[in-house]
């Protein structure tokens, strides 16, 4: 099993521990990963707000680079990158005019593009390629009694992804169960965390992230797991600020689902980037 890896900008900076833990866990399960050479930013939500053809164009460049490199599926761990890549594929399929411009532009920089790769999120890969049984087999320290709030955020399951239910996804819950933990039932796991609004209009952004943390805490979660670097950043890094602002302590461990997997697999904290986290640590007794 091998995948072409599209890390995206965040996994190389603020989301480093996502990359570290993901690669460690995959290594433990003997899954090969090869980074796409000279990949560029996916454009996130901002590019589409400025220029459609270029937004599709820069993402198509990544898909074209991947095609050049191999036939394997592309693994995109960041929800925004993942959605952006899927969206680009859809646009190329359904909008002939956009396709024409994009292909011509790619040609200008010497790239051919056939739109043949499959784009996958690690959750999809864990569940459907690697299987829950293999995950179970790798568990060293089961998460007995640990209550986990699985938070998906928005773009991971919407609107193009097909590997899970859009309204009530279960992939992370199933992984938590395989790890021996207990997923918490809660109604807002796909509600948006506000994205970059924690820095632009923080009075709105912080409140939205706060509501998510508060609900998870109210439902008795010991830890929240995420599968997107932006969600993670918002929910992890502003806990002090929110607790002060809204007069309610919402501090709790927030980590990538791959970090939690790594912990259950008995991997080293450093390997999982746990030393980089700003939210409280999850102690497994």
């Amino acid at each position: 099993m091998k995948y072409l890896y599209f890390p995206g900008c965040s996994l190389k900076s603020s989301g480093r521990s996502y990359e570290e833990s993901l690669l460690s866990v995959l290594k433990k399960m003997n899954v090969g990963v090869e980074e796409i050479d000279d990949w560029n930013c996916c454009g996130a939500t901002n590019y589409m707000a400025m220029n459609e053809r270029n937004a599709i164009g820069i993402t198509a460049r990544n898909l074209a680079l991947a095609e050049k490199q191999g036939k394997e599926d592309i693994m995109a761990p960041c929800a925004a990158c993942y959605m952006g890549l899927l969206k680009t594929q859809k646009y190329i399929e359904t909008e002939p005019k956009v396709k024409e411009t994009v292909l011509t532009n790619l040609k200008k920089s010497g790239l051919e593009f056939e739109n043949t790769s499959k784009v996958r999120h690690p959750l999809d890969i864990f569940i459907n390629d690697i299987s829950l049984d293999t995950i179970k087999d790798n568990v060293y320290a089961p998460l007995k009694g640990v209550k986990v709030a699985c938070y998906y955020g928005c773009q991971l399951t919407r609107p193009y992804a097909t590997f899970d239910d859009q309204r009530d996804p279960q992939s992370m819950e199933n992984i938590v169960k395989a790890l021996g933990g207990t997923p918490v039932e809660w109604p807002i796991k796909t509600r948006c965390c506000s994205g970059s609004m924690t820095s632009t209009v923080s009075e709105i952004g912080l409140r939205m992230s706060y509501l998510i943390l508060k609900e998870a805490k109210d439902r008795g979660a010991d830890v929240m797991i995420t599968a997107c670097p932006l969600c993670q950043f918002n929910l992890e890094c502003f806990q002090g600020k929110m607790s002060g602002k809204y007069g309610e302590n919402v501090k709790m461990p927030v980590m990538y689902f791959t970090q939690l997997m790594g912990m259950a697999f008995g991997l080293d904290k450093k390997e999982l980037g746990l030393h980089r986290m700003l939210s409280p640590e999850l102690s497994l007794s």
């Binding site: 900008c9 965040s10 190389k12 900076s13 603020s14 989301g15 480093r16 521990s17 000279d38 990949w39 560029n40 930013c41 454009g43 996130a44 939500t45 901002n46 590019y47 589409m48 707000a49 400025m50 220029n51 459609e52 053809r53 270029n54 164009g57 820069i58 460049r61 359904t94 909008e95 411009t101 532009n105 790619l106 200008k108 920089s109 010497g110 790239l111 928005c154 773009q155 919407r158 609107p159 859009q166 796909t190 509600r191 948006c192 506000s194 994205g195 970059s196 609004m197 820095s199 632009t200 209009v201 923080s202 709105i204 939205m208 890094c237 502003f238 030393h275 980089r276 986290m277 700003l278």
Partner: protein, 197 residues
């Protein structure tokens, strides 16, 4: 909708005259968003109700659709709503008429930028522009330089509020000061289309 002031400073809303409206606006936006279905909107408000941002918006998403259709071009383009859309796609997957509302919001953002109609002094368009140029320049986003540039063009004092966080991120190795960018910057530049939207 022209607003006039009465003696007591009460805003007086005049009737909207057909001649004030841009009758082609709906078609124009539908084309930009690849979404002719926008005309099938039944004004059910499911989009607004599923939108996590709608409570902060000046017009709810449903109302924006109605205004687009009717031709309230200036009011729509200068609204904060379109910039508060977080692109979470909840409305799009829930709309009973299959209207791609998120893409319409994107099209409105682009149109607002093109026609310089976006709300002045509102931070979100500034971030988008900064982000756009940053990727154009280096191919990747360096969060440090992005935020620096963004705060510089928006509100330098605001960045101070984030200084403590920045320091923490730096010491945990999560804040990268220098991003080399991609190797083939020239190639990327070449392929970025000169097309306007």
């Amino acid at each position: 909708m022209t607003m006039k002031s009465t003696q007591n400073n009460l805003p007086l809303q005049e009737i909207s005259h057909e001649s004030d409206l841009d009758k082609n606006f709906g078609k124009h936006i539908a084309k930009m968003a690849h979404g002719e279905k926008l005309f099938g909107c039944i004004q059910c408000g499911n989009c607004s109700a599923s939108c996590p941002m709608s409570v902060y918006m000046d017009h709810t998403p449903r109302k924006i659709i109605a205004m687009i259709r009717a031709g309230f071009r200036d009011e729509v383009l200068s609204s904060k709503t379109i910039w508060l859309c977080a692109s979470c796609y909840n409305c799009t997957v829930e709309c009973p008429k299959g209207i791609k509302i998120t893409e319409i919001m994107y099209a409105l953002k682009r149109d607002a930028i093109l026609t310089k109609n976006y709300p002045k002094g509102f931070p979100i368009p500034i971030l988008s522009r900064t982000f756009y140029n940053e990727v154009k320049r280096s191919g990747r986003i360096n969060e440090t330089s992005l935020l620096m540039k963004y705060y510089f063009s928006y509100n330098i004092f605001k960045s101070l509020g984030y200084a403590a966080l920045a320091i923490k991120l730096f010491f945990t190795g999560r804040l990268i000061l220098f991003e080399k960018g991609i190797k083939n910057k020239a190639g990327l530049k070449q392929m970025l289309s000169s097309s306007k939207n």
